[in-house]
């Protein structure tokens, strides 16, 4: 049973077969061609500030360690001993001089190099070439605005080029004083395909409907969109970028979902500085709510202060890891207030997240049906608004209730799955820039 990719996703990304959310074979291909080739979020520099600090995470289903070496450099390696394969680190974070394998005691430095093995000379004589037995490095590790990403494919474009037009949108809240993540992440299991939440963070359409219960008790300007009674008062924009990342901007709506007047004051107070630094359009974004997915599986919310990774765990399961994102120079008290609001909305008992999770599972569960999965998913909403803008980078829809971001995601999904290598990905995506 082969996979006919051309049958699964149409060229513009506006239609997909439901099978994409349940198929085992396709899932394996996604791990090979998407997760082993795309830039994947690892951690934020603020989480591993000192030499010897490390964080354990996953790239696709591959366990990796991200560590800051004694030279201050951040590296990442596969968390599996080069001897008999056990994980050399079972802790999720910490500070260490070395990773010692629990099985036979092989010891690796924070730079991944093999430092020592028990019974070295007595057992191997001079035959063990330790220089060839370091932990397998992640081919590329780079940062943008302190966000550390890794990529298994040495031929990939740089992280900055990969993020592309998305950096323009991210800069609006990272360029002034910088941001940091408050960890450790909250982690939970959702029985859904990883693409469902990834596309959901690009979907302005569900907000008024799925989140009607939360929005209606929240009050404030955002409550107007509960039940789609009204469109967001100041409008918004959806943009999708070359490699499948997207943003949904609700203008002037930060902090839309937080009951935190001091956060609003903070944004107002710092907006002129953003304007001086970047100009008016990006300063406006700073005071707006931005939802985004960085292809393939990392999402964030500016204005609701959330950073997430949807870790694939088979076609029908994910782990969601959630951090609070704050600006570095905020007073500690404001960080605490924002963390409380962010966790309340989007952690495991989240007033928003709980309703999302139920939908994620429902989409995935329904697609198990043999006949069901032959059917199509529709993402054609507001296609007539897809355009280019003189100001806003990317493919843009100036109508916020649009599936333009979802289309952009699946268009990159299809190209990344079909491409032979990174040169091919670049070729296929050339006209999307």
């Amino acid at each position: 049973m082969g996979i006919d990719l051309s049958d699964l996703v149409d060229t513009g990304g506006s239609s997909q077969k439901k099978r994409i959310h349940v198929d085992e074979e396709l899932y394996k291909l996604e791990l090979e061609r998407i997760f082993a080739r795309s830039w994947l979020f690892l951690t934020h520099e603020s989480q591993i500030p000192n030499p010897g600090d490390y964080f354990s995470t996953y790239m696709g289903e591959d366990a990796v360690i991200v560590a800051r070496g004694s030279d201050g450099e951040i590296r990442a390696f596969i968390n599996s001993c080069t001897h008999r394969g056990a994980k050399v680190c079972s802790a999720e974070a910490g500070n260490t001089r070395a990773f010692v394998c629990p099985y036979h005691g092989w010891t690796f430095g924070t730079d991944g190099a093999l430092r020592g093995v028990p019974v070295d000379k007595a057992g191997w004589g001079a035959d063990l070439d330790k220089s060839k037995l370091g932990l397998t490095p992640v081919a590329k590790v780079e940062s943008y605005a302190g966000f550390v990403f890794g990529c298994f494919d040495k031929d990939a474009v740089s992280l900055k080029e990969y993020l592309g037009d998305l950096t323009w949108y991210m800069d609006s809240f990272t360029a002034r004083g910088g941001v940091e993540l408050l960890g450790p992440p909250v982690k939970s299991v959702i029985h859904c395909n990883w693409k469902v939440p990834s596309e959901n963070f690009l979907d302005g359409y569900h907000v008024g409907w799925t989140h009607r219960p939360a929005l209606s008790v929240l009050g404030g300007p955002m409550s107007q969109i509960a039940g789609n009674v009204d469109l967001p008062p100041d409008g918004g924009v959806i943009a999708s970028t070359k490699y499948g990342h997207g943003v949904g901007v609700i203008y002037d709506a930060a902090p839309g979902l937080h009951r935190a007047p001091d956060y609003y004051m903070w944004l107002m107070q710092n907006r002129p500085q953003v304007e001086t630094l970047l100009g008016e359009p990006q300063a406006r974004l700073y005071g707006s709510h931005i939802a985004s997915t960085i292809f393939p599986n990392c999402s964030f919310l500016h204005g609701t202060n959330i950073w997430k990774v949807w870790m694939p765990r088979g076609p029908r399961e994910i782990e969601v890891w959630t951090w609070t994102m704050v600006e570095k120079d905020m007073p500690a008290d404001l960080k605490r207030k924002i963390q409380k609001e962010a966790m309340r909305g989007f952690a495991t008992a989240g007033t928003f997240e709980s309703d999302d999770a139920d939908n994620f599972q429902s989409v995935t569960e329904a697609a198990r049906g043999t006949v069901t999965r032959r059917g199509a998913l529709n993402a054609t909403l507001a296609q007539q608004y897809d355009t280019r803008s003189d100001v806003l980078p990317g493919l843009v829809s100036e109508f916020i209730i649009s599936e333009a971001g979802v289309r952009g995601f699946y268009s990159a999904y299809k190209d990344t799955l079909e491409a032979e290598d990174w040169a091919d990905i670049k070729r296929r995506r050339a006209d999307r820039g």
Binding site: G94, K187, S188, M343, T351, D358, F360
Partner: protein, 171 residues
Amino acid sequence: MGRDVSHETYSEVCRFYYKEARLFSEQDYRQWLDAMVDKSIVYFLPIFEERYRRDRKAEPEFPPFIYNDDFSDLDQRIQQLETDLARRIDPAGRIRHLITNIEAFEGEAEGEISTYSNFLICRNRREREQTILVGGREDRLIKGPDGLRIAYRMITIPQRVILDSDLYYMM
């Protein structure tokens, strides 16, 4: 930890928790909030980090949590359920709360009781989705004119990765 409470108080504490478990099983969170929760409540469910025992990295400065609610936060959560708009809970799921290992001690202030208890919650929803959650609670109860009320609750769940898609229910 203070002295054990009297037999009489212990039995009052048990009756309080059994009633609470019944209200939770009936998902009657409004009555729970009205009758059993003090206005000063801090309802807290922190998460923890899996570190090596002898790790030397500083503890997180802003440790996250799943719940850090005050009275009005709880009230708003319950209001959200009461909107009758949440499709997640329609049809209603089924939930059963068991309470065990109840210990009760004299608190620091007059009329306060410190307790430990464990719970087992079995939630079943959407045809056959079922999760069993075991956890512990550390409470501070205060004795008012109309009986006991919860002034502080810290919930611990011995799962690093929560094996459930949401914990939007009281525990």
